[in-house]
């Protein structure tokens, strides 16, 4: 297994984000006062200020998928040596690869999304490019639409196979709300108990309101550099110590990887690769950030990434193990369900904050290593962040 060079290991030296809760209220009550690029710009300025770098020093740029790469770069007057457009986890992985390979030594990662203001649709004829997607031909005629419905269908089968109850599933949302309650930026901070979870309406049965992520405006940015620069510029660089990926594309439109194996083989392969590259083990992980558009993601990730045995994910969550002070805190900022739906970008920032020790009331004590796990639309990837670069 190839091992990373410590000298060129990528490290996060700056993070920035918008004020999710304030903006949520603003948009709801009065309307937006900016657009996706505006949120991105705010986040970028905050991250850059934290990093101590001048804008001219930025060598690489990766923009998230919800705004145009060109327009973002034009607005921020960034003319990088190397660039890409990627989802959150893949953006970090690519930045790390470019830095480790010596192609660039500084990369800005920038995301902005005004989905709440423009009422972005995630189901129905206007969802996700609608007719441009193959799945539209094979789902929409029968009324099938939205990722939520796909996860509901997957969880339905899981519940049948593993005897998971709706009450047990509800503990995912309940546990995450507890983390969010300690996060002043989180949008949903009212207490959520299991009875309130069960009383809330179904969206696509068996998933209910609190199983679904938020839809809100915001922006996130990160600045990554190589280890040498990070040591010069930053008191507490957070290392991208390992990463991995595995896709399951065969029979994806048929939903086979979801329904027949809950993405397990891809998650297992990814976990092995991440841990091996990072030279870490499951016991070393102090907190887990899981891409959580829907609550089932957490149970599938706990099992697929092998923190628990197959079939034990629900029991693990119901026991309180993923709550604050639990054995393995999950989505310590509240995640997509309760903090903000920044499509995985907020999970990267939270990992960094926990490892810096700046997570305030929600700080996981002794946090040295955080794993990010993402299974979305058949592509699985993972990132191990660490306060230490690791031994070579």
């Amino acid at each position: 297994m190839p091992s990373p060079s410590t000298q060129n290991l990528a490290a996060v030296i700056g993070v920035g984000e918008t004020d999710y809760a304030d903006d949520y209220d603003q948009v709801k009550e009065v309307g937006a006062n900016t657009d996706g690029y505006g949120y991105a710009a705010t986040a970028f300025k905050r991250a850059l200020a934290e990093s101590g770098l001048r804008r001219e020093r930025i060598g690489g740029l990766i923009v998230g998928p919800t705004i145009s790469y060109e327009r973002t770069a034009e607005l921020l007057s960034l003319n990088p040596r190397w660039s890409s457009q990627r989802i959150a986890g893949k953006a970090v992985i690519e930045a790390a690869l470019a830095i480790e390979a010596g192609a660039v030594d500084t990369v800005a990662l920038i995301y902005g999304n005004n989905q709440q203001s423009v009422d972005t649709q995630y189901g129905g004829p206007d969802a996700m490019g609608g007719e441009k997607y193959l799945s539209y031909a094979y789902y929409a005629p029968w009324g099938m639409t939205s990722q939520g419905a796909l996860y509901a269908m997957t969880m339905q089968r899981y519940m049948h196979e593993m005897d998971l109850t709706e009450r047990e599933l509800g503990h995912v949302a309940v546990a995450q709300r507890k983390h969010a309650q300690m996060n002043p930026k989180a949008i949903m901070r009212d207490p959520l108990d299991i009875d309130s979870y069960l009383d809330a309406r179904y969206i696509v049965e068996p998933l209910r309101l609190y199983d679904y992520c938020l839809v809100n405006d915001g922006g996130v940015a990160l600045i990554l550099t190589n280890s040498d620069l990070a040591a010069e510029l930053c008191e507490v660089p957070i290392y991208v110590r390992g990463f991995g990926q595995k896709d399951l594309n065969t029979d994806a439109t048929q939903l086979r990887p979801r329904l027949m194996e809950y993405y397990r083989s891809a998650q297992e392969a990814t976990a092995k690769q991440v841990f091996s590259r990072a030279d870490l083990e499951h016991e070393d992980i102090d907190a887990l950030q899981v891409y959580d558009s829907f609550s089932p993601h957490i149970i599938f990730a706990l099992e697929g990434f092998r923190f628990v045995d197959f079939g034990n994910g629900g029991e693990f969550v119901a026991s309180g193990a993923t709550e604050p002070e639990g054995e393995l805190p999950v989505n310590t900022s509240g995640g997509h369900l309760s903090e903000t739906y920044m499509q995985g970008w907020n999970h990267q920032v939270e990992a960094v904050r926990q490892l810096r020790g700046t997570a305030g009331d929600r700080q996981v004590s002794g946090c040295q290593n955080v794993l990010y796990a993402c299974s979305a639309v058949g592509k699985v990837h993972g990132i191990a962040y660490s306060a230490e670069a690791g031994v070579q």
Binding site: L134, W142, T145, M153, R157, T250, L255
Partner: protein
């Protein structure tokens, strides 16, 4: 406007829906290795051959999962309505609706059989009923 989603037809979907209009559910079967594939496409994902034949499926299948929509996304589909994934006897998983069934009666593992429903002047849909 029928309220049904606009039909999306790539090159191979034309044939798929033409057969359905004639009340036949035909999928492609690779003429080289015999694997059935779905959705329709130009090559066999198993062996990459471009030799194929459109063959009628038996119509038999089993429910591998289902959901009940409680939110409306399409004019033609008023909640509550079910959507199921059916494992056809030939192997592929097929998204459709189970007809003439109440939500309480639905279960994973039930055997189903193909029926065609003409839902509008222009649209026939392959759906399934419990056997």
């Amino acid at each position: 406007m029928t309220g049904y989603p606009d039909q999306v037809k790539g090159y191979y979907e034309e044939t798929f829906w033409d057969y359905i209009d004639q009340q036949e559910l035909r999928l492609q079967q690779c003429a080289d290795c015999g694997e059935w594939r779905f959705p329709a496409g130009p090559v066999c994902p198993a062996c990459l051959s471009d030799e194929l034949a459109w063959k009628a499926v038996s119509g038999e299948g089993e429910i591998v999962s289902y959901v009940v929509f409680r939110k409306q996304y399409f004019d033609a589909y008023e909640p509550p309505y079910n959507v199921a994934s059916i494992e056809l006897a030939e192997g592929p998983l097929f998204v459709s609706n189970i007809v003439d069934v109440s939500i309480d009666e639905l279960d994973i593992g039930q055997d189903v059989s193909l029926v065609f429903e003409t839902v509008t002047e222009d649209l026939t849909l392959p759906r399934f009923e419990l056997v």
